[in-house]
Symmetry: C2
Subunit: 315 residues, 2 copies
C-alpha cells in the first residue's frame, strides 16, 4: 500500500466513516465540508470512534490515524495533491452535479473521483464534464469502517483503468469491493434489502408473524448463514449436489411464494404504523440513540470475530 | 428445566440435529428410524459433533449428552413415556399422514407431537386424527443445534395450551421460537429467503453482478447487520426517527425496485446453469463436502461469538 492523500468532500456520517477507513489504512485524509461546523463535529466523532476500534484491535494501538487527518478551509486546499476524491454530500442530483463540476475542475488531473451516492447513477451526475471518465460511484454501507462492502458502479463512459485503480485502492484499504456491470437503481445491496423487506412487511400485514418474530427468524436463523456466506453459497451448500440440485428441489416452491404475492404495492400507512408501534414497544424513542450505539458495538465485535474466523483452519 | 423423555422419529440430518439439541439440554432422547442403519449412522455422526461443540464451549466439557441417547427398535419403545415427540421423516404428505396416525395412536396421551416439516401444514397432516389438537409444526433451521430459530406453526385446531407448552419446552432447551399466527406456505424463514433469492437471481440474469459479488454484498454488508438485528430493527435504527421515518424516506424507492421487476417468473434453466457454473468455478464438486464442514465450523464459531456478545454491556 502506497500512502497517498485522499480528499473527502462532505463530512456527514458517511464522510466521517470514510475518514476512519482511509486514515486507518495509512493515507493522509483531507476533510472538507461547506459547513465548517459539520467538519469539526465529524472530527470530534472520529476521536470517539478511534479509541473504541483500538480497544478491540481493529486498529493498531500504537497508531494515531487522527494524526493523518486535516480539516481544510477550502475545496482547493483539500483537493491539492489528492490522488483519490470521495464525495459524500447530500443525496440530490442537482447538488451532486454542482459539486462534481467543481471537483472535476479543481482536482488533480490524475485523481479518481467517486461519490458515495446510494441511489444516483454517475451517468446522471458527471455527464458532460470533461473529466467524466475518471468519475464513478463507490457506495459504502454504514459505517464503512465496520461494514467492508463497497459497490463500485461505473458509468458507461468511466474508464476501465479508473475502475481497476479505484477497486485496488479500496481493497488495499481493507474494504471489499464488488463491481456492478450495469448501472441499476439501488445497486445490489439495497435491491436485495428491498426484496426481503417487501416480504417482511407482507408477513406482518397478513398477521402471520409480529415484527419481532420476523426479526428473530432472520437474526437466529437466515442472517447467521448470510453473515459469512451470502445467499448463493448458502443454497449451494444446502443440497447434496449444489445449487442446480437445490433449484431442482425447491425452485417451484419459491416461485409459488412469489406468485402468491401478486403485484407489488406500496406499504400502506396503517401497516407502517403497525410496524412503528411494534418497534416502539420494543424500543422507545428515547432509547433509539443508545441502541444505535449498541448496534455499532455489536458490529465491531462481529468484525473482530470475522477477522479471527477468516484466519481459522480451512477458511 | 425438568428433564423428560423426548422421542425423535426419523433420524436424518434434521432428526440427529434435534437429538443434539435435546440431549444437550439434559433430556433423555429416544431415537427411532424405520431404517435402523440410518439410526446407527445418525448416532455415529452425533458422536463426531459433540466433541466439536464441547471444544468450543457450546456444551459442558464434563457432560456426556450421548449418554442420554438411546436407539429404539420400535416406535412403541421410543414413544413409551415420552412427553414430547418430534417427527423428522420424509417431506411427503402421504408419508407424514401415515406416521402421524401411528404417532397419535401410540404416543402417551399427554405428549405433544411436532413435525419438522419445512413446507407441509399440520392442517393437512393430522386432520381427522383423534389427538390432532396436540399436533403442530416445529420447523427448525439446519443444523438446529447451531441455528436456534424454530418456527412454531399450529393448525387451526391445535390447542393453545399445547402451543404454549411446546414453545416453553423449546425455548428452555435453548432454541428461539417464533409463533406463526396463520399457516402459510414456506412459513417465515423460507418466504424471506425466497424473496431475496428472486432478486439475487435477477441481478445475475441481468448481468448486473456475478454470483460471488452478490454473495459478497450480503456477507460483507447486509448479512452482518441481519445476523444480530433482523430486517426491521435494521431499518428502525437507520433513520433518525425510526422505522416510519425510514419508510417515509425510502419507501417509494423500494416500491420502484419491486415495480421494475414485474411479474415473478421461474428461474430459467440457462440462468440456473450460469449460477451453477459460477459456483463450481469458486468451489469444485469434490470440495462441496469439505466446504459444508467449514460452514458448520463457522456457524459454531459464530454461535460462540453471539453468546459472548449477548452477555456484553448494553446488550
Amino acid at each position: 500500500m502506497v500512502p497517498m492523500k485522499v480528499a473527502l468532500v462532505g463530512t456527514g456520517l458517511i464522510g466521517l466513516g470514510w475518514a476512519v477507513v482511509f486514515a486507518r489504512a495509512g493515507h493522509q485524509v483531507a476533510l472538507y465540508d461547506a459547513d465548517s461546523d459539520q467538519a469539526e463535529s465529524a472530527l470530534r466523532r472520529i476521536r470517539e470512534i478511534l479509541p473504541e476500534l483500538a480497544r478491540l484491535g481493529l486498529i493498531d494501538k500504537d497508531d494515531d490515524p487522527a494524526g493523518r487527518m486535516m480539516l481544510c478551509d477550502s475545496l482547493e486546499a483539500a483537493l491539492a495533491g489528492a490522488g483519490y476524491v470521495q464525495e459524500s454530500g447530500p443525496e440530490r442530483l442537482a447538488v451532486k452535479r454542482a459539486i462534481f463540476a467543481d471537483l472535476d475542475r479543481l482536482a488533480e488531473p490524475s485523481a479518481a473521483i467517486a461519490t458515495s451516492s446510494s441511489g444516483i447513477r454517475m451517468g446522471a451526475i458527471a455527464d458532460g464534464l470533461e473529466g467524466r471518465s475518471r468519475c464513478l460511484v463507490a457506495h459504502p454501507a454504514n459505517p464503512p469502517y465496520l461494514l467492508p462492502i463497497v459497490e463500485v458502479v461505473p458509468a458507461a463512459w468511466t474508464a476501465p483503468e479508473v475502475v481497476r485503480r479505484v477497486r485496488a485502492f479500496l481493497d488495499d484499504a481493507g474494504q471489499v469491493t464488488v463491481l456492478l456491470n450495469k448501472e441499476v437503481d439501488g445497486f445490489v445491496l439495497n435491491r436485495l434489502q428491498g426484496a426481503l423487506l417487501h416480504e417482511a412487511f407482507r408477513l406482518v400485514e397478513d398477521g402471520v408473524a409480529t415484527v419481532d418474530d420476523v426479526d428473530k427468524t432472520v437474526r437466529e436463523g437466515l442472517g447467521l448463514r448470510w453473515s459469512f456466506m451470502g445467499p448463493f453459497e448458502t443454497i449451494d451448500l444446502n443440497a447434496p449436489e449444489g445449487v442446480a440440485d437445490y433449484v431442482d428441489r425447491l425452485g417451484q416452491m419459491y416461485l409459488d411464494f412469489a406468485l402468491q404475492r401478486g403485484a407489488p404495492e406500496p406499504w400502506p400507512p396503517a401497516l407502517v404504523e403497525t410496524v412503528e408501534r411494534q418497534r416502539r414497544a420494543l424500543l422507545s424513542d428515547a432509547d433509539l440513540p443508545k441502541r444505535m450505539a449498541w448496534r455499532d458495538r455489536r458490529l465491531m465485535a462481529l468484525a473482530v470475530h470475522k477477522a479471527q474466523a477468516d484466519e481459522g483452519p480451512g477458511s
